[in-house]
Symmetry: C2
Amino acid sequence: MMVKHAIIVAGGSGMRMQSTTPKQFIEIGGLPILMRTIKAFYEYSQEINIIMALPADLFSRWEELVEIHQFRIPLQLVKGGSSRFESVKNGLQEVEEGIVAIHDGVRPFVTSKIIEQCYESAEKYGSGVAAVLPKDSLRRVTENVSLDRSQFRLMQTPQAFTSSTIKLAYASTNKKDFTDDAAVAENNGNKIYLVQGDYRNIKITTPEDVIVAQALLESESGFSD
Amino acid sequence: MMVKHAIIVAGGSGMRMQSTTPKQFIEIGGLPILMRTIKAFYEYSQEINIIMALPADLFSRWEELVEIHQFRIPLQLVKGGSSRFESVKNGLQEVEEGIVAIHDGVRPFVTSKIIEQCYESAEKYGSGVAAVLPKDSLRRVTENVSLDRSQFRLMQTPQAFTSSTIKLAYASTNKKDFTDDAAVAENNGNKIYLVQGDYRNIKITTPEDVIVAQALLESESGFSD
């Protein structure tokens, strides 16, 4: 069994939220989104080495929240960069051998099942990346054509890799506009293996998303899946 | 000014809902989803010729709901077919000259602004189809590659066209597996013009969607856009 790391990327400054509270600190059901996300990993396994990349100017606010919520899950705090790419790169410096799952701090609804399958796929094939089928029809605007959506996937996180693979991939490029880790890994010649994500594994980035998240949280016990 | 028609496609049997109530009849905020959708068009303009395609075995249930909710928006009921394609085709038989917007019965959050822009685009260019940028990163699984999501759009409805264009397009094919009207129009050689949709313009197809819809509805007055 390989050592499991998780890099929680909590780099956003919350500008899309029109809110003074950075989005990762907004509370749903009485707990900041970011703490819910970390809890999801801790509930999957207490053995995971959790690394959290957060903008340095939010460190003191985080410490306050830790006290307020008596949040006792052990983790290592690292400085977030000016882009997602840099935040992940900073996190990866703290990762030794094993497998590492990179996960958005604002995706608190990730399940133990998805986390497990991402790690398992990474251990077996080198990568395991959560993804879902688009629900809506899809077009390519450049050629202005309808597409067969069954050939496409919308990417979520976790995106898990063997540590050496993803460290090498992040070290091999200076382009910072990758939108996910799979693209960085692929850019370095790695094949990407997909894992079934979940439509409820939403990324909370807009005020509407917060409302949706509240509703999903309140209803969670009502589902039988 | 051309005559405006709207075909509301309410063909689903609600099987994905694990519910005896067909999804279009599920109530949110005390009113069936389908009635909310029709209201959205009526609130945009009372001059629209509304045609609703509903499975024939739901006609009597619909009439009951009309009485219960004292629903007085005038519309023409037509039989839904065994597929979305056939339902739209049945609806189009009732459409004379002008412009026609085809809309999912389970997208109640469509705004007057989107409806207007779809009709305007159709009047000007022949088509006007609501679409949004994918929020998540996108991959093509057939070639297993990351894609630039800015080149793609997730399609919503309304999808509006000049009547003659879309009637001809639906008459010209027997393939019934098109997932949207834009694909049918395109199949007959028409260029598709996109209109900015809205992430709140969701299609309610799963129990989670109903919960999200409830929450969006309750919060509607709280947004300032």
